[in-house]
Symmetry: D2
Subunit: 157 residues, 4 copies
């Protein structure tokens, strides 16, 4: 947890989720903004949920976006490929969990497995490949300290 977060009283701190073994679990509530006129969550908005979970995983592991951007060169993590399988749909007021594992980290690339659940039911699965890039979009080997922070959560070969 970052220093500034630690200074914030519990009840004023939005949750970052928690780890269960290698799995990071992140809670989401569905609000008006997430739905469309067909009555369920708009298909692009699940990607917002997935990103919130990935960012919170990073943050829990001690990695902040702002710090990456302050490095020289400035770095960011971006999704290069993602395969989405919409299995069911979420509705207003639903409580969801985004379950994330960071599987393999190799050079600039990070393979990620995610799913969104409501209770035990799977709403969506998502397999993605992220890359560490500089602000010109060029792949950059991730900083060693960052790899070290993620290592405990990666698949061991």
């Amino acid at each position: 947890m970052k220093a500034e977060d630690a200074a914030i009283p519990d009840r004023d701190r939005p949750p970052l989720g928690y780890f269960e073994g290698r799995e990071h679990r992140f809670p989401i509530r569905v609000f008006y903004e997430d739905t469309d006129f067909s009555g369920v969550v708009y298909y692009a908005n699940y990607l917002r949920f997935l990103e919130r979970a990935r960012s919170s995983f990073f943050r829990l592991a001690g990695i902040g976006h702002a710090e990456l951007l302050e490095r020289d060169p400035a770095l960011a993590f971006v999704i290069r490929k993602i395969n989405l399988d919409y299995k069911s749909s979420a509705k207003i007021d639903d409580v969801l969990s985004v379950v994330t594992t960071y599987d393999v980290f190799k050079g600039a690339r990070l393979w990620v497995t995610q799913r969104i659940e409501r209770g035990g039911e799977i709403i969506l699965t998502a397999d993605s490949e992220a890359a560490c890039i500089d602000l010109n979009g060029r792949p950059r080997r991730a900083p060693t300290e960052m790899i070290d922070k993620l290592k405990p959560y990666l698949l061991t070969s």
Copy 2:
């Protein structure tokens, strides 16, 4: 708190915020999706934060959107007027609080005062007038049980 929420373990339940006197306080974290290329939160996205807070206030007070829609006639709460004053700007990873009071409830109309804070600093103030409407957009007197649930939080004259 709604029954289905109570059944969800604490750490899997997204926060609904809490009351301090008449003030409802709701925590928000700023994610990628909320920002724009100028580096700060996009001006329309604060309205999403404000709505999440108003909905969570309702929910904490025992009022759910889904239930309102299942009434006959189906009802919804919508914003009719809102005055926004952007005093500062929020950035990626910021932890914000949305502070909401429901001030006066009269017929179909509800007057709302909100502000968004980061620590003690005010980012935005918002005064709005909400209305209870049916699905044809006609104002409808709010259900008595709903008014009763909100009464403890309203201004007393």
Copy 3:
């Protein structure tokens, strides 16, 4: 084109794109709302662009969402699976084209190939599988008149 659209003067009518053979081409401009603090378009927002293009293709072919929803049973088209390959990134003020082909329509399912270009450069490719569903989420054979309207644009076997 729908009747109500035809009544709107040209310069007040947002473009629905146009066909070049089987390919539908749809223009998009990147606005503030589409970008994030890293300076480029947020990854979920490309799915909004893809959907605008698919909806406009439908509309140009004479199929409107509102009409589908007014049928008995009410119908909607939803994405079941989508594979996204982010090859480059778009920036504020960019003019993009979304290129869409509807390839195969079988029962309730429709296979779609899309790409987003800037000039000749490919920003994103997307292969998806859409389904015609009723409002309970059950797959429904698409209406014959709808299949007939799309037939000229499908792959011939």
Copy 4:
């Protein structure tokens, strides 16, 4: 119109709207992404429509966001205050017009009047105050060439 825009064939160029006297008129179509489960456009999304229109006005007048950001110091236009009056609601597939006038430009501040119409019906009115700022959020006198470009559209005293 910017040079790169001029190079794009008409049918691949998203509309920037047009002027009728001092009024800029900008066409919008309502897509899935804009609506919420209540069946109409989500209240925050009208602010995205308003910004698209303001940006397109700027662009038609020869002012681009990218160019402002490349100045030294980098500049951006932000909304400081906005009063919104939601008079009706827009639905999926609707064709809307955003009507914008830039009224008074004084130092760093610009007063803007906007409304969103569907046919002759007013959906929303919005009065706002924009400011020219540097990237630290400090108000900056707008560049003279920018004021000159907007002058023909301002109120004359």
